[in-house]
Symmetry: C2
Subunit: 218 residues, 2 copies
């Protein structure tokens, strides 16, 4: 299997497969048919077969998928079998919410440091993770082999912080600031724009009110 053969649409869906397979494992389910997975995930069985065939086809006719194998394989593809050192820049509520989310650690994302410009916050800890001054940012990244940084600060400072992160060697930015960051090739940005998500919800609620039908044309 060549990683580059997988389409972005499939990649977007992989984390959801990973979640469902993890839940099945938790229930002690060893094998599952595409039909049963389809009922659980509310995706057509043909979509599931098509998606999972991208990985060489783990399924066998009339036998179903091996849940543990598929879970491990998708985890490997997503890179959650590796350790990723991560920092959080911005120790407000959003930064603390992420620092407190211990589940990320089970996926290999280890938050090793937090940073803030607010002197009130510097020196405090969140779940044992120390909040440091922005002056320490570059040294910390280099000394601790940090690859991923979450930006959870207001958008005015985000572009400048992103530049510093990239220069210090960060490879992936998880951007919660409500602005689009410009990064050089070789660095990836994953945006979580909460306002935009809320506006999409608002659109769908209003569509419902206007015509009693929230469905979309395609």
């Amino acid at each position: 299997m060549e990683r580059r053969e997988i389409s972005q649409a499939v990649i977007m869906r992989l984390p959801r497969y990973y979640r469902y397979l993890g839940e099945l494992l938790g229930e002690g389910v060893e094998r599952i048919s595409s039909g049963e997975l389809s009922r659980r995930m509310k995706v057509t069985a043909s979509q599931i077969r098509q998606d999972l065939n991208n990985f060489g086809g783990f399924g066998q006719q009339g036998y179903g998928y091996n849940v543990q194998y598929l879970y491990d394989e998708i985890g490997r593809i997503l890179g959650v079998d590796r350790r990723h050192n991560m920092i959080i820049v911005g120790s407000g509520n959003l930064g603390r919410a992420i620092a407190n989310y211990a589940n990320f650690e089970r996926r290999g994302f280890i938050v090793s440091g937090m940073f803030d410009i607010d002197p009130e916050m510097i020196g405090r800890s969140v779940r044992g993770i120390r909040i440091r001054a922005m002056e320490e940012l570059e040294d910390f990244i280099r000394n601790n082999d940090v690859q991923i940084a979450a930006i959870t600060m207001p958008k005015t400072h985000a572009p400048e912080v992103a530049d510093r992160l990239v220069k210090a060697g960060i490879k992936g930015i998880w951007n919660f600031a409500h602005t689009d960051l410009v990064v050089p090739e070789g660095v990836v940005v994953e945006n979580v724009h909460l306002s935009e998500s809320l506006m999409r919800l608002s659109y769908r609620v209003c569509s419902m009110e206007d015509d009693g039908n929230g469905s979309f044309s395609e």
Copy 2:
């Protein structure tokens, strides 16, 4: 213009247009060509023309788009010109982050109440918004004409809370719990699954490391 003619793909992009147009207004820009908007948004000019033609074509050859008109029109389509009463169920860091984000109010999303099961939290306030006991949930929704609820509590309780919200009349659920909610027709769910977002980032960072190229095949 018929709302139902707009494709989901365009709707997904509208909030981003809305953000850029708002920034242009803030800079005092009155008119903009699709070419200039294309450079700013890093989207092709033809994509922009195609998207904005969905709304009857506000642009005029050689003249550009009227920024204020387009901003207002898209705002109207997204429903951010109306008031939406909203509650937040779960007053942890994530719930507080949302409650503290005053920008949502400028878009018409008024957080009127927060709810929690933790007796330690009940009675406290976040930015003047009182945290209430879960027993008050249904009455509060009915008495305050609440249409939207954010679920920012752990996934174990989320399905049960979603059922209560729907029965009390909630039309839109902004779901941060890491599970898929089942709701009846007429109710919409917008998911923000942070773990899945982080896994997508991880995949792209790993792809980069493996082949020096984070791009996707399509």
